[in-house]
């Protein structure tokens, strides 16, 4: 081959290698784009990294672990709850504006007490601040402006004060009842 042809060939080879390199990197990126989460009852969920990393726990896992093929186990979280957590994360990782999200949150938070507590535990375990705050606020809202008796009823709390103690306490807390 003439020198010019040789140079051309080398350059072609170079481009081809670069192309291959790019495809490989794209593949790697594609792989990195989702992560698999596994619930306590063995269900698996494939989630976009953007949504999954709303969970700081998952974010740190990904920062430190290179093997994103492996499913991340959540032995404390059932599939029902994990599905809801993922729903929240997907919504909040999306492009929607604040007000729309707030509206969605309000509807999303309208769940049974048991589910609420399970979500709080999951959000805490997975370290998802927004979700945790949303449901802690919901529980707090259940308590606000209720009478003592109403609170006991809502959460099935037994009154373990003697009459005397309760009187003393009411006196001590008189300021709150006015």
């Amino acid at each position: 081959m003439s020198t010019t042809e040789e140079i051309k060939a080398t350059e072609e080879n170079k481009t081809m290698t670069e192309d291959n390199k790019m495809t490989n990197e794209e593949n790697k990126e594609d792989k990195n784009k989702t992560v698999t989460l596994e619930s306590s009852d063995g269900a698996t969920f494939v989630v976009d990294v953007a949504a999954a990393t709303l969970s700081q726990a998952i974010k740190h896992w990904l920062d430190e672990e290179n093997d994103t093929d492996m499913a991340i186990p959540f032995p404390n979280v059932t599939s029902t709850i994990l599905a809801m957590v993922i729903e929240y994360c997907k919504k909040h990782a999306g492009p929607e504006p604040e007000d729309a999200l707030k509206e969605w949150d309000a509807k999303f938070a309208n769940v049974d007490q048991t589910v609420m507590f399970d979500l709080i535990l999951a959000a805490n375990y997975m370290d998802i601040k927004g979700l945790l705050d949303l449901f802690c606020q919901s529980v707090a809202d259940m308590i606000k402006d209720k009478t003592v008796e109403e609170v006991r009823k809502i959460f099935n709390i037994e009154n373990d004060f003697t009459e005397e103690e309760e009187r003393a306490l009411r006196d001590e807390h008189k300021w709150a009842f006015e």
Partner: protein
């Protein structure tokens, strides 16, 4: 789960909602359940601070004690109802969303909720959020809140004598209650291995300590300070009792801060740490001198645009700073005018136990309070090859903290100090590198113009001392060419696994 917290500024986090790592110690048990008796003295027991009147009359016991009871009844669970499946931290998290009167009402629902609603940190948050630094502390945060919001109510009635709760078991609340009352143990204070010098020349200091990046405690540098003669409670209150100083997340009148400091008993007392004290009270700036060793301060070329560099520090026993590295890769000196401070320092390549820096150095998670660190992690350091440098720094002494060193400080008694950060010629390259980092805007602290600080600084240095940077770069290149590489095992053996290298 761990929450990371930004620590590269000297103020405390406003909401102490940080999650705690599981304590490494075995489950604690108390010997006595009578709140009036001191706990039996033995090796495992802790001495509690004396108190004339506790803020509440109930006793929180560690979970371990539950297994010693005959009926295994924990009023915590029965009094929470459906909420009992949540952890204590989560219950407190929920309570954090309630206002004062809601908490007041909730505290009458059950014994358990009474204990939860007495938890002082919740009330501290309420006071600080609602009133900033505008409060006069009356012995408890709950009492302080009630007094401000309901001035007609006789707050001495809110003492908590009405109910005595004895059967409440909770590790989290116990730990919190214990740490609020505990005193520093002798074995945490007695180790003192820092180099001490008196009257050395600047040249000797530079050669032996600054260039070798070694800490040293210097005596005799404050003998001529007006501050040493004049600064006491009375003088400060007379001079600037009305001035508002930076205290944690708020600003408080100095006089009000002293009232708080005299009456508080908590795990993480608010700390007065003000970077603008000279602007606020110019005469204070005239009553102390920068010790001769630290006079080369290159950030001064930036004039008013320089990051925060000098602080007045006042705090009660138990206040202090948990492990951190000083901002902007600077070195520091800390001079105690009144009181005494316990220091624990680790070199840049040794991460202290219980501390978790993020890979980029922007965040450091140290989930435990200072006192909890001593309780749970200090003993570990006894077995390390690279032991920490420790000392107690007393009035009249100055400690030099070399750049990049981890340090923790706790006041052993009410203390008053001045601290300054500075950049010297030998540290210039480190600082420039640090400022050049891609995440400089996260890491650089104490200035409003983070991103351009590097360029501004470099330019200013070039103008004032042309050629310095190039000269230093050349010297550095020579040094690296000549430096011996540490044998692998020496570098690897004494740091705990996963030691983080804070590289510049």
């Amino acid at each position: 789960m761990l929450h990371c917290s930004k620590i590269l500024s000297k103020t405390l986090k406003p909401k102490p909602k940080s999650k705690k790592l599981k304590s490494k110690s075995k489950p604690k048990t108390l010997k006595s359940t009578n709140p009036k008796d001191p706990f039996e003295e033995d090796d495992e027991a802790f001495t509690l601070k004396p108190s004339e009147s506790s803020t509440t009359n109930h006793v929180v016991q560690p979970l371990g004690n539950l297994y010693l009871t005959s009926n295994g009844h924990n009023s915590r669970d029965s009094g929470l109802g459906d909420l009992k499946i949540l952890t204590d931290e989560l219950v407190l998290e929920i309570l954090g969303f309630l206002d004062g009167n809601h908490l007041g009402i909730l505290g009458t629902v059950s014994r358990s909720l009474y204990v939860f609603c007495c938890h002082e940190p919740i009330w501290r948050n309420l006071v600080l959020e609602k009133f900033g630094g505008g409060f006069v502390f009356n012995g408890s945060w709950r009492g302080t809140y009630v007094e401000i919001c309901y001035p007609e109510f006789d707050v001495s009635r809110a003492k908590g004598d009405g109910v005595v709760v004895r059967d409440f078991y909770s590790d989290y609340l116990f730990q919190s209650w214990l740490c609020a009352g505990i005193e520093m143990r002798e074995e945490w204070i007695c180790r003192d291995n820092v180099a001490r010098r008196r009257g050395i020349s600047v040249e000797e200091f530079t050669r032996e300590f600054e260039e070798k990046n070694r800490p040293v405690l210097l005596e005799g540098c404050m003998d001529d300070w007006d501050a040493m003669r004049r600064w006491d409670r009375r003088y400060l209150v007379e001079t600037c009792g009305d001035v508002r100083f930076a205290v944690g997340p708020v600003e408080m009148r100095l006089e009000d801060y002293f009232v708080y400091a005299d009456n508080v008993r908590e795990e993480r007392p608010l700390y007065l740490f003000d970077p603008n004290f000279v602007k606020k009270v110019p005469i204070l700036g005239a009553q102390y001198d920068v010790p001769v060793y630290f006079r080369e301060d290159l950030f001064s070329v930036l004039g008013d645009e320089r990051p925060d560099y000098r602080w007045i520090i006042i705090g009660p026993a138990g206040s202090g700073s948990s492990f951190h590295i000083d901002p902007n890769s600077t070195a520091a000196w800390n001079a105690v005018i009144k009181g005494s401070k316990k220091w624990v320092l680790f070199p840049p390549d040794v991460v202290p136990p219980g501390v978790h820096p993020s890979p980029d150095g922007a965040e450091v998670a140290c989930p435990v309070s200072i006192i909890e660190w001593f309780m749970n992690f200090y003993a570990e350091t006894k077995n390390w090859k690279k032991k920490p440098t420790e000392c107690v720094c007393k009035a009249g002494e100055v400690i030099f903290v070399p750049n990049g060193w981890w340090h923790l400080v706790i006041n052993l008694e009410e203390s008053l100090a001045i601290t300054q950060n500075y950049v010297c010629r030998r540290n210039l390259l480190n600082v420039l590198d640090f400022l050049k980092k891609p995440n400089a805007s996260d890491l650089v602290s104490g200035t409003s113009d983070r991103v351009n600080l590097h360029d501004k600084f470099k330019k200013a240095i070039e103008v004032l001392c042309p050629g310095t940077i190039d000269q230093l770069l050349r010297k550095e290149e020579e040094k690296t060419a000549n430096a011996k590489k540490l044998p692998f095992w020496e570098a690897a053996t004494d740091s705990n696994a996963g030691a983080f290298k804070f590289s510049f």
